[in-house]
């Protein structure tokens, strides 16, 4: 297992959001977390990278990471595209990308990777000297994904990557994520409102309800589950 989460608990103040969640991810896989608003998807991602206090065990690449500081978890190779994108609004597009590679030791190859991101998203190249805050929502989402990939992560956490994007851009983005996953074996944990899309790209899926896993299996299996079809896929 690349990522192994056992009996994960998390609270915001007095409100418990996760009630003993357990799930795992195989190396190189794309796994998706499905569930209604408030089921605990975003919190799960935030817990993995140490942004909320948690109970339970999180093991990444054979190492316990629960309780570690976010910046140390990132250094182990986990990149996060957070809810709301988290771009550095007052820095330029290119500075945002350079920051993504902040912890990398192979500085010489960082420039190559910036060009690679511009290859994936030519719009970013046009806007390289522009302040990130002036980019459109779609461009900012591309920038957030690119910045996360600049880490050359082993595991990429994506929180609602399709949020606010035009359908065509969403197709393009997921195509690129698929390609990166296959070419570089970057594992991905995707939280997505658009369940049909998520199940299309994912190998594995977990369905959450109020902070617990209620269904899991291959994407194929989950897609064919009657309850999932009715609640999330709408047919």
């Amino acid at each position: 297992m690349l990522l192994d989460v056992k009996a994960l608990q998390a609270s915001y103040g007095a409100t418990r959001v996760l009630h003993g969640m357990s799930f795992g991810m195989a190396p190189g896989s794309i796994t998706t977390l499905l569930g209604a608003n408030g089921a605990g998807k975003t919190t799960t991602l935030r817990a993995v990278c140490g942004m909320v206090k948690t109970g339970g065990e999180i093991t990444f690449d054979g190492r316990r990471i629960d309780g570690k500081a976010t910046e140390d978890i990132v250094r182990l190779g986990i990149a996060h595209v957070p809810d709301g994108r988290g771009t550095f609004a007052h820095l330029t597009t290119e500075e945002n990308l350079r920051l993504g590679a902040y912890t990398r030791k192979d500085k010489a190859r960082v420039h190559e990777d910036i060009e690679r991101m511009y290859g994936y998203f030519p719009r970013l190249k046009e806007r390289r000297r522009q302040q990130a805050g002036t980019l459109s929502g779609g461009e900012q989402q591309m920038l957030a994904v690119s910045r996360a990939l600049m880490l050359r992560p082993k595991l990429l956490l994506l929180d609602e990557p399709s949020f606010g994007l035009a359908p065509l851009v969403v197709r393009e983005l997921f195509g690129i994520l698929r390609a990166v996953n296959q070419a570089e074996r970057v594992s991905m944990l995707v939280v997505e409102q658009n369940a049909a899309l998520a199940l299309e790209v994912a190998d594995h899926a977990y369905v959450l309800e109020t902070g617990r896993v209620v269904l899991s299996g291959t994407a194929q299996h989950v897609r064919n589950d009657d309850a999932v079809r009715r609640s999330y896929l709408g047919y």
Partner: protein, 289 residues
């Protein structure tokens, strides 16, 4: 008359450089904490005394200068780590009280160690810099200020560490997500701000003489300068500093006289806050309520 005006403008630029430096230090701390460090002036004063002590040991001026800047940097880092860090998540009021406490402590400790007797402080600039417009010290301190500002610009604009420090001040959460150690970046920011203050202190000390209260008025001008330029805009603060210096000198020499000079700063502070709280180049903040 016109010659006198020109002379006052250039003299104003020299003191303006001092205000610009301190205003920049204030802005750097403001960007990270969203608070004005009232102890910035006393930190600079304390560093200047350290410079004075080093000069008393017989060390040459420039080695003593560089050593003082280094000590100033360490002092800033230590203050952040020991005093500020434990309270950074508490209320705004607690932090402000700690800033004022630091001001009082540094002021008294300096008086206790070095006495309140006013001391002369040497200027390192040779007579050969003398010219019809400015005294050697005025020209020299402008040059030192400009070199320092240029170095800071290059550091923040072109080095990975400078970029990381800007990122950490702007958006701590996203910074952690790219692996930046935000706590240390803030400490480095304090170190740099304090080092800038040390330079400003040593440049202004030959003019105002060395005593524990030397920075009181100067910090007020620097605060006015930072507000004028925009408290969250480094470039604005620097420009504000130079404008402040020239304005103060011209008004003091030709309009209101020397006794009321400090009132210029106070009027400017009130005026900016009333008319344009974001300053000339600052960000206008809008919030939904």
């Amino acid at each position: 008359m016109s010659e006198a005006i020109v002379h006052q403008v250039f003299a104003g630029l020299a003191t303006g450089g001092i205000y610009a430096s301190l205003a920049l230090a204030l802005v750097m701390i403001y960007q990270a904490t969203h608070l004005v460090n009232f102890a910035q002036g006393e930190m600079a004063m304390f560093c200047t005394y350290i410079g004075w002590s080093l000069l008393q040991t017989g060390l040459g001026y420039w080695p003593a200068f560089l050593l003082t800047v280094a000590v100033g940097f360490v002092l800033g880092v230590l203050i952040e780590r020991i005093v500020i860090r434990p309270i950074e998540r508490t209320s705004v009021l607690s932090v402000v009280v700690v800033f004022i406490g630091l001001l009082a402590i540094l002021n008294s400790v300096a008086g206790w160690i070095f006495t309140y007797t006013i001391k002369p402080f040497p200027s390192p600039f040779p007579e050969s810099l003398a010219n019809p417009l400015m005294s050697p010290h005025e020209l020299g301190s402008i040059l030192v200020t400009l070199v320092m500002l240029a170095l800071l610009y290059l550091f923040f604009r072109f080095t990975p560490l400078g970029l990381a420090m800007r990122a950490a001040a702007q958006n701590p959460e996203s910074s952690r997500l790219v692996g930046i150690r935000v706590g240390w970046m803030l400490a480095l920011g304090w170190g740099l701000a304090s080092a800038i203050g040390a330079v400003a202190g040593m440049m202004v000390a030959p003019v105002v003489y060395l005593d524990p209260n030397m920075m009181g008025g100067i910090l007020l001008y620097a605060f006015a300068a930072a507000l004028l330029g925009g408290i969250d805009n480094p470039l604005g603060a620097v420009l504000g500093g130079f404008i402040m210096g020239v304005l103060e000198n011209l008004l003091g020499a030709f309009v209101i006289g020397n006794d009321l000079k400090l009132a210029v700063a106070l009027v400017l502070i009130v005026g900016v806050l009333l008319v344009r709280p974001s300053g000339l180049f600052g960000t206008v903040h809008v919030s939904r309520v």
